[in-house]
């Protein structure tokens, strides 16, 4: 077999694999979109309709008339944004110390931070519930902001630590010689260079906080404090005597809350990929 034909087979296999991955990732979202614009009568029609014959935006209208859902959107935005900012601020400072200085116990600290992510959420739920109560945060958004940091911070610290480690020491020293204080060198020189890492971790923290369900269900009580995943879960139907699950509306709501994430990712994708440190040192 010649190299040319081997290469052709190789690229066919590559695109086949790509297609499988794409279908695996995109199909659920496609199905959500499809279900959200299908009238209820066509939702479970057989044979399967891959595109509804009577597409409608009725579900979207209903979703946006739902005051609880609007509240939930606002709550989710507040919680996810706060969690993102808090984990970046705290994480960057922690990562700066862990990535730039060598001190006794540096390694244990790093692994301790990592081990935080290994507990299943349900395992820490009880203890956290108690803590949230003691801090007087029950049924307040602050409870979610605080507890979400448990899973966003370790990740942020680890990724940013490796980012700071990769930055050449001479950059910082150049700043010191230029007259910068350690704090100035940190936020004027190092932090902008860690921006790709900040964007990536920030985005992942945002997504994690935006999607979280268990804590949001456990620590929030009244409908006006619900976040989006809980709100969608508790959608009550107008028809069917309250027993019919309003799939159409849930799917419409799902699409609505997914769009911001997609937009954010698209906006920042170039930033994530940008090798900002290129040109810092020889090369």
């Amino acid at each position: 077999m010649g190299t040319a034909s081997r290469r052709t087979i190789g690229s066919i296999l590559f695109y086949l694999l790509l297609a499988v991955i794409l279908v695996y990732i995109i199909f659920p979202f496609y199905w959500a979109v499809r279900s959200s614009i299908a009238p209820n009568s066509e939702l479970f029609a057989t044979p399967v309709q891959y595109w509804p014959s009577h597409a409608t935006l009725a579900n979207y209208r209903l979703v946006f008339q739902n005051a609880d859902f609007i509240d939930a959107l606002r709550n989710s935005a507040i919680v996810a944004t706060s969690v993102t900012l808090a984990s970046l601020a705290v994480g960057a400072l922690g990562a700066y110390a862990l990535g730039r200085f060598s001190f006794r116990g540096r390694r244990p600290v790093l692994y301790l931070v990592l081990s935080m992510t290994m507990f299943p959420q349900i395992a820490v739920l009880g203890a956290l519930y108690d803590m949230v109560n003691r801090f007087g945060l029950y049924n307040r958004l602050g409870a979610l902001i605080l507890t979400y940091l448990i899973f966003t911070l370790p990740f942020t610290v680890w990724v940013l630590t490796s980012f700071f480690q990769a930055l050449p020491h001479e950059l910082e020293e150049a700043a010191y010689v230029d007259g910068a204080s350690p704090l100035q060198a940190f936020y004027q020189i190092l932090l902008p260079l860690a921006a790709p890492g900040m964007v990536t971790t920030g985005l992942l923290a945002f997504i994690a906080a935006w999607n979280e369900f268990l804590f949001a269900l456990s620590f929030m009580q009244t409908p006006d404090k619900r976040t989006v995943p809980v709100a969608i879960f508790t959608f009550t139907p107008a028809t069917g005597g309250g027993f019919e699950i309003p799939w159409g509306q849930m799917m419409a709501a799902t699409v609505v809350v997914t769009v911001p994430l997609i937009v954010l990712t698209l906006i920042f994708q170039r930033r994530i990929l940008a090798g900002l440190t290129a040109g810092a040192v020889k090369g």
Binding site: V177, G279, A280
Partner: protein, 378 residues
């Protein structure tokens, strides 16, 4: 502008001293090169002067101020790093202006100084670019520019040319010298390259294993090395060394080896007399080894037969690798027109007045009064 003084400076990591008792005074406006092999402590010494490395013991003085405990920003210095360390996210303009902004220089002054420095270095058109859009040579200029806009008391340069290719390095070397002649700022320059040191330094401090070996002008380092390390480190190809015994032969002091002996010049005889019946290290520079056919006037008893191993032709000269009967190898630097072929045996002259002598164990130079009186003065 200011003088720079290292006053009995030590740097220790645990029990391990990387700089030992360094004492060095650089007069105002001088260009001084710290040179040595890796691990000699030259960079550490520079970084202690910059305030980037803590001083274990002793003091550094810039001008009339003891700056030992001060942070880099309070020392009024500027530094050029080996990797240039340009701020990648800032434009060239901002790279140059950053230090001035931190020192609260007025905006119009910053602008004027940045543009002056940029045009002086020929990088005025690059001010809007980012470092990654620049070539290595241009980045190097920006790094220099960032130092000169600050108008500091002292320039510190840590191997600033080692990332450039050979041609650009020679060119930039000359430019840095010109820069120093124009600005007259005291400059401490670190390099491992003895050619760079010899061509650039008003004076050179040779370091080895954390200890200052000799602090002198290039000419004196070359012709009057204080020990065998300096003698071997300065000069390329390096000085040839071999061992011989100092002996009285028929009332005259001679160097005696297994296969040949050499006469001793009258000046060296007095110093060597103290080493009678001892082995000493004998050194000779490659350019001082002469083919006998070239100069018949040289003393006939200083002739030794050698075998030619390899001949490297460089154009204006040739390096000839020789082997003596005792198995010692030597390099000679000879004019290009002498016919020499590998495998041939030739007679070479080692002129007595061109020989260097070193104590076999300490490596210290064995010399007449001249060096000793200098050592006392220093």
């Amino acid at each position: 502008m200011a003088r720079v003084v290292f006053d009995h400076v030590w740097k220790r990591y645990g029990n391990n001293a990387v700089v030992e008792d360094l004492t060095l005074e650089v007069p105002d406006g001088e260009f001084v090169v710290l040179v040595g092999p890796s691990g000699s402590g030259k960079s550490t010494a520079l970084r202690m002067l910059a305030g980037l490395e803590e001083i274990s013991q002793g003091n550094v003085i810039i001008g009339d101020r003891v700056v030992t405990g001060l942070t880099p920003k309070d020392r009024d210095i500027a530094m050029v790093f080996q990797s240039y360390a340009l701020y990648p996210h800032m434009s060239i303009y901002d790279n140059l202006a950053y230090g001035l902004k931190l020192h609260h220089v007025a905006k119009p002054d910053i602008d004027r100084r940045v543009r002056e420095a940029a045009s002086f270095l020929g990088i005025a058109e690059l001010l809007d670019r980012k470092p990654r859009q620049l070539s290595g040579g241009q980045r190097q200029r920006v790094a220099l520019g960032r130092a000169i806009v600050r108008e500091p008391q002292v320039f510190l340069m840590d191997e600033p040319l080692s990332n450039l290719d050979a041609k650009l390095r020679v060119q930039t070397r000359a430019e840095i010298i010109k820069l120093h002649q124009r600005l007259g700022t005291t400059t401490i320059y670190v390099t491992h390259d003895q050619v760079e040191a010899m061509t650039m330094g008003d004076r050179i401090a040779v370091l080895n294993q954390g200890r200052l070996q000799q602090f002198d002008t290039p000419d004196r380092l070359y012709h009057h090395p204080v020990n065998s390390f300096v003698a071997g480190f300065i000069g390329s190809p390096a000085m040839n060394f071999f061992q011989m015994r100092v002996q009285d032969v028929e009332g005259q002091l001679k160097l005696v080896g297994e296969h040949f002996s050499l006469p001793v010049s009258a000046e060296d005889a007095s110093a060597l007399a103290a080493h009678r019946d001892e082995e000493v290290t004998v050194g000779i520079r490659p350019e001082d080894i002469v083919d006998r056919r070239l100069d018949g006037r040289l003393p006939a008893d200083a002739v030794i037969p050698v075998k030619v191993d390899v001949v490297e032709t460089l154009g204006p000269e040739q390096y000839v690798y020789l082997e003596t009967a005792a198995g010692d190898t030597m390099v000679a630097r000879m004019p290009p027109d002498i016919p020499l072929r590998a495998g041939n045996t030739v007679d070479v002259v080692l002129p007595p007045d061109r020989l260097y002598f070193f104590d076999l164990t300490s490596g210290d130079a064995i010399r007449g009064e001249e060096v000793e009186s200098l050592a006392e003065a220093g």
